[in-house]
Symmetry: C2
Subunit: 315 residues, 2 copies
């Protein structure tokens, strides 16, 4: 199937492009972005022009910031395209409810992707936890925002120079530290044997920013999750879960799994390859997969949470 | 049917009790509250004791702050009771999703009430708007929090003395100015011909409080809604909607309706009488009515919104 990428930033270049290109199921035939292109692929800067010019495209995959997606996604569905959304799928829950209903109306596939749910530790962890009672859990999702959220616009050419900070993370729809933290939340909603709800939350806002740079969540009064974008050194993306029948430890974003002290052999991580495989299956089956659970928990944390102000943050 | 009230605060005494008592469909047989009782009605301070002692109760109506409801609602449903929830129905969307599914599992009626949707102007406004295109709308929801959110604990005895400020409004789950503003939002979600989504939001937090005291929302890029708890003087609860075929003006929380300059005869406002009538119908029909749209828009506003800090607020 012919596919176009909308938004050509860091994650598009690092994951979407190589995984589309490596797959027999897909032909990357166009990109749409205000800036950013992919060598050898037709590029458009205007979405309407793209839609009118490229009737050969059947699927669009959105990798631009969530705040900018809604109008484009509506136009794409109305034009008969299937739509795939990088996480977080939208800036608001109401938008997603609308898109879900509209995709149904249009008879098109809509897929809200959560790449971390495709990490190799997720399925075995879910299976192991399915008949256990959670006693407590501790989640740490720490990374240096300056390491992971600064784009190098010249990466491809190797000239290495122009940097672009992902300031949109701190703008409306950017969800701050949850841009990364929602990966942990998407793993939790997938592996935990019971539905999750936020029972306590505190959010830390830099005095010069509109979205949180750190947060503490309590889920179901038993799961403590800590998120921090101001972490220095290597990232920490792990979760330690104690049950009535032993304990489980997921490290490096669920790519390493230890059950009761024994490391489980998982094989390689191929998150985006799995996402694009799943998208092809969904279209084949004429189905959508719309999972709002992680975004609901983030919205709930914003609604419920207390607020602290910390010192200003600049990239 | 035998009904019990859980939470006996200002709105319970002003609306729930008189409307239950006035209805042939209901017998108020118990109240459950840490403080607050209703003259002549059995009262309990412990929910478990109440459940064990009063097998004659078929329905519980929750009027206590949203943050405290979830565990009680789960217990009530598990015990075979039907559940009615004062707005806002819960502290989080995830809670409501869980309760909706759990009520289905238990085969019990769950009703998320939105009393302002029962205001007499809502149905005619909805009908009139149904075939129109919204050009713009302006919503003002201003009231003096000191007038409407201070309980007089001795109101019944007439001794008038002990006041209780509703500080919970500024605590987690209290949703600040949206405790009132969600009434406007519930009217909008009911009368507007298209689905609503938050496209812009700014929230104003007193420096000593964790929930906003004022807010500006933009819905669908065309509806401007302004909420303020620091308003002095009589409340303003109105909405002015301009369409491609004329304009409509709802005043005093949709109890006064003017279409193209002509005032429409609406009859009296009986919001809570209608809610309890509806609950009886739902139970009769074996159905639930769970509407999360207003709460989703509030959560979205929290997630999307920019933040300002204003001077401290004390009652």
């Amino acid at each position: 199937m012919n596919i176009a990428l909308v938004g050509v930033g860091k994650i598009a270049k690092a994951q979407h492009v190589p995984n589309i290109v490596a797959s027999d199921a897909w032909d990357l035939v166009a990109t749409v972005a205000l800036e950013g292109t992919v060598n050898g692929i037709d590029s458009y800067t205007n979405f309407d022009t793209f839609l009118q010019s490229r009737k050969d495209v059947e699927v669009v995959s959105f990798c631009l910031p969530a705040i900018a997606r809604f109008d484009y996604a509506v136009k794409a569905l109305r034009s008969g395209l299937h739509v795939m959304l990088e996480k977080p799928p939208a800036a608001t829950i109401a938008e997603m409810n609308y898109l879900r209903d509209f995709a149904d109306e249009c008879g098109r596939t809509l897929f809200t992707t959560w790449h971390s749910q495709m990490a190799p530790g997720v399925r075995p962890a879910k299976k192991w936890l399915s008949d256990k009672v959670i006693k407590e859990a501790s989640v740490r999702w720490f990374e240096d925002i300056r390491q992971f959220h600064v784009s190098n616009l010249d990466e491809e050419s190797g000239s290495g120079g122009t940097k672009r900070n992902q300031d949109w993370i701190f703008e409306p729809g950017g969800i701050g530290v949850f841009d990364t933290g929602i990966n942990a939340i998407s793993i939790l909603t997938e592996i935990m044997p019971n539905g999750l709800r936020v029972t306590d939350a505190s959010l830390v806002y830099p005095e010069n920013r509109n979205q949180p740079i750190a947060a503490e969540l309590v889920l179901n009064s038993t799961i403590n999750a800590s998120f921090n974008f101001r972490h220095e050194g290597p990232p920490v993306w792990d979760m330690h879960i104690t049950t009535d029948q032993g304990e489980i430890f997921l490290e490096r974003s669920a790519t390493i799994l230890t059950i009761d002290g024994k490391k489980i052999d998982l094989g390689p991580s191929q998150e985006y390859a799995h996402l694009y495989k799943r998208m092809a299956e969904l279209i084949q089956a004429g189905e959508s997969e719309v999972n709002l659970d992680p975004l609901v928990l983030v919205a709930d944390a914003f609604m419920l949470g207390t607020r602290e102000v910390s010192n200003a943050f600049n990239f």
